[in-house]
């Protein structure tokens, strides 16, 4: 394993596992000429050891892209990601393999993660073939033990085809793999979105136990705020490629400071609390270049918002990128157009 926590800035605590610095990803679309989409726009954050950090955003916010960048499935356009102090873009060969042992991804659709024509055992076989050659002797015991850790009985699982198992069982099998690999960071991208309510929380609890017992970290990517609240230590709210609010989960949810976070929280369907009738959401019809990404929809937009606010720590462990939240006042509130959000 590589040395922990040395960085060029020299002032970083020892327990950072991943550091994301000024990460930017721009996609080019179209064959000729084409246009550019900034999916991730200059974001920085750390993932600590034994931390569950949720990355919350709506579809198109860039949250999945962040996960894919950390998994090296995409190359950053700007900025870098370090793992235990080493820039992951420099990893090659054995080092890269080592990285994938420590950083694993699990995605939304469990049925797409398994090859339907092979038995599920294959996902374990592949592991032992490429990562765990030295442990082949104890293969069976290790598999049984890892399945037990995620609450599965190997007799119900091994020898079956993916279609014979439920989505919840398949996701747990993938989590079981991380025990075998001694994974340090799990990128869980909408891991439980396709699972039923009655099995969802069990999978979440497994993540909680992974953190507490195995000291694993999880980047929990989700659009579901209530799930993020339940399981994570830290919450990041992402909007159009930008981190707009970032902090300890309880602080972000109990005292949301960004107007976007507030809007999201008020839209969460909850038992025991009826939705307030929303005011027609207005769109100004413009996002000023270099301005606040939420300008278009923000009820509090001011002239100063034409320049993009940066994340500022407004209370301990709670950062927000919003002038209004900072207390900047301005008389020039900007009228909103009459059209609906589309």
């Amino acid at each position: 394993m590589s040395r922990a926590g040395h960085t060029q800035k020299g002032m970083i605590k020892m327990d950072e596992l991943i550091q994301v610095q000024n990460l930017t990803k721009i996609f080019k679309s179209g064959l000729v000429g084409g246009y550019f989409t900034t999916a991730v726009d200059d974001i920085s954050f750390d993932i600590h050891k034994s931390e569950i950090i949720s990355l919350v955003g709506e579809s198109g916010s860039g949250k999945t892209t962040v996960g894919r960048l950390i998994l090296r499935l995409l190359k950053p356009s700007l900025g870098k990601i370090t793992y235990e102090g080493i820039d992951i873009s420099t990893l090659r060969g054995k080092k890269l393999k080592e990285y994938y042992k420590h950083v694993q991804g699990i995605f939304q659709d469990p049925f797409a993660s398994f090859n339907p024509i092979f038995k599920v055992d294959r996902v374990f076989d592949l592991l032992f073939d490429s990562y765990l050659k030295d442990k082949v002797g104890k293969k069976n015991d290790l598999i049984v033990e890892s399945l037990e850790k995620v609450g599965l009985n190997s007799l119900d699982i091994l020898g079956k085809y993916p279609h014979q198992l439920s989505g919840g069982q398949l996701q747990r099998i993938l989590i079981a793999r991380t025990f075998l690999l001694d994974t340090k960071l799990l990128i869980a991208d909408e891991l439980i979105s396709m699972l039923d309510a009655s099995t969802r929380v069990d999978v979440l609890n497994i993540l909680g136990n992974l953190r507490d017992k195995e000291k694993m970290s999880v980047l929990f990517i989700t659009h579901d705020l209530s799930l993020g609240y339940y399981i994570s230590d830290t919450t990041m709210i992402m909007y159009m490629g930008n981190l707009v609010e970032f902090g300890k989960t309880k602080l972000v949810f109990d005292n949301p400071l960004h107007p976007y976070t507030r809007m999201l929280l008020s839209s969460v369907p909850e038992i025991g609390r009826k939705w307030k009738k929303s005011e027609l959401e207005m769109k100004r019809g413009e996002v000023p270049i270099g301005g606040c990404p939420y300008f278009d929809r923000c009820p509090l937009a001011m002239d100063v918002c034409r320049k993009k606010p940066i994340l500022k720590e407004l209370e301990k462990d709670h950062k927000v990128a919003c002038y209004a939240a900072e207390g900047v006042k301005s008389d020039d509130s900007i009228p909103v157009g009459k059209s609906h959000n589309s």
Binding site: E58, S59, S166, D196, A197, S198, T199, R200, V201, D202, L204, N205, G208, H223, D224, L225, S226, L227, Y229, Y230, I231, T249, K250, F253, M263, L264, L265, S267, V268, P269, E270, I271, G272, K274, W275, K277, S278, L280, E281, S339, H340, N341, S342
Partner: protein
């Protein structure tokens, strides 16, 4: 309140090579006029099959018994020809994955005009287009949408277009099948509000809202029906279902939902151990028996299907713990 739709002992099976999958197996419920009736359950419980079968009983779905009376007509026994007349005019659906429901090679305008002409030959093309544009505007879409192809629209816009098309002829009942499932929270709220507005404006009388998400139903439904493995386990008004559930399944389901204010580090929620039964060969008795922590009368629970009884006025539950004959058993 008058009953608009009355469904009795209704059964829909899937014909497969291995036999019949009893996806909807003797359900009883009714939908009142001017109400939102929610149907909730896990995947595979039969809720979507139920909704779809009321609209279009397409193979491999097969009608296997019972009745579904809409305005004094038993639509479950209608021929395809007669049902064609009912569909869209009396009973309509916003299908699951509505976003993919529109032909990509036709302009929205043509889809709308073709569909309406099929049903109401008196309306002129101009009237149809005007009506559609009026409705589009109501939900914040510009009339230009009419000249676009479905692939030019975003997911949220498509959903709204389908919503407008489905209700264009003011059907009595609209079945909304998982319309919020693929959406972000802010769009979920928007869709639900749109549906409420359509109901207020009398474009539809009643809505059957099918979803796996009880917290969304809490926002919109007047009454909720909980299904499990092809059976109805409980029906009650929304407040009773969420705050005083009767059936052990409903209780466990509600308690397993993450709520704001509860964190793993303070209080661990628990799911429901086990899995629903295979409906190709369902168990003889209560279908929840395997996972049930109560099993009030194990012998009976395992061997006899509990009937849906009216436990108190308006509250229906199918569990041996709540049947009169079982009082003496405990």
């Amino acid at each position: 309140m008058a009953k608009l739709l009355d469904v009795k002992d209704y059964k829909v099976y899937y014909q497969t090579l291995k036999g019949q999958v009893k996806a909807v197996d003797g359900v009883n419920f009714f939908v009142n006029e001017d109400e939102v009736f929610g149907i909730a359950g896990e995947s595979g419980c039969g809720k979507s099959t139920l909704g779809n079968s009321l609209i279009y009983l397409k193979a491999p779905m097969r009608y296997a018994g019972g009745s579904a009376i809409l305005d004094e007509n038993d639509i479950s026994k209608f021929t395809d020809e007669r049902m064609r007349k009912m569909r869209f005019e009396k009973i309509s659906i916003i299908p699951q994955f509505a976003m993919d429901a529109m032909s990509p090679t036709k302009k929205i305008k043509n889809i709308v005009v073709d569909l309406v002409k099929e049903h109401d030959k008196k309306m002129s093309e101009k009237d149809i287009i005007d009506l559609a544009i009026e409705r589009f505007k109501m939900i914040g879409l510009s009339g230009n949408v009419m000249n676009m192809y479905s692939i030019e629209l975003s997911g949220g816009m498509k959903q709204r277009v389908v919503m407008v098309i489905s209700t264009l002829l003011n059907p009595r009942i609209l079945i909304a099948d998982e319309i919020t499932s693929a959406l972000d929270v802010s769009s979920q709220k928007f869709s639900v509000e749109m549906l409420e507005e359509f109901k207020d404006k009398q474009f539809v009388s009643s809505v059957i809202f099918i979803t796996h998400d009880i917290s969304v139903l809490y926002q919109i439904a007047d009454r909720i029906m909980i299904m499990y493995a092809g059976h109805v386990v409980e029906i009650a008004n929304t407040e009773d279902i969420v705050s005083k559930p009767l059936h052990p399944y409903t209780k466990l389901l509600i308690s397993s939902l993450p709520k704001m204010g509860i964190q793993f580090s303070q209080k661990q929620l628990i799911g429901i151990p086990g899995y629903p039964p295979n409906l190709l060969n369902p168990p003889k008795g209560c279908r929840f028996y395997d996972r049930c922590p109560l099993r009030i009368d194990p012998q009976k629970c395992q061997n006899e299907i509990p009937p849906l009884v009216e436990y108190s006025p308006g509250r229906y539950v199918a569990c041996w713990a709540y049947t009169k004959g079982n009082d003496k058993n405990g």
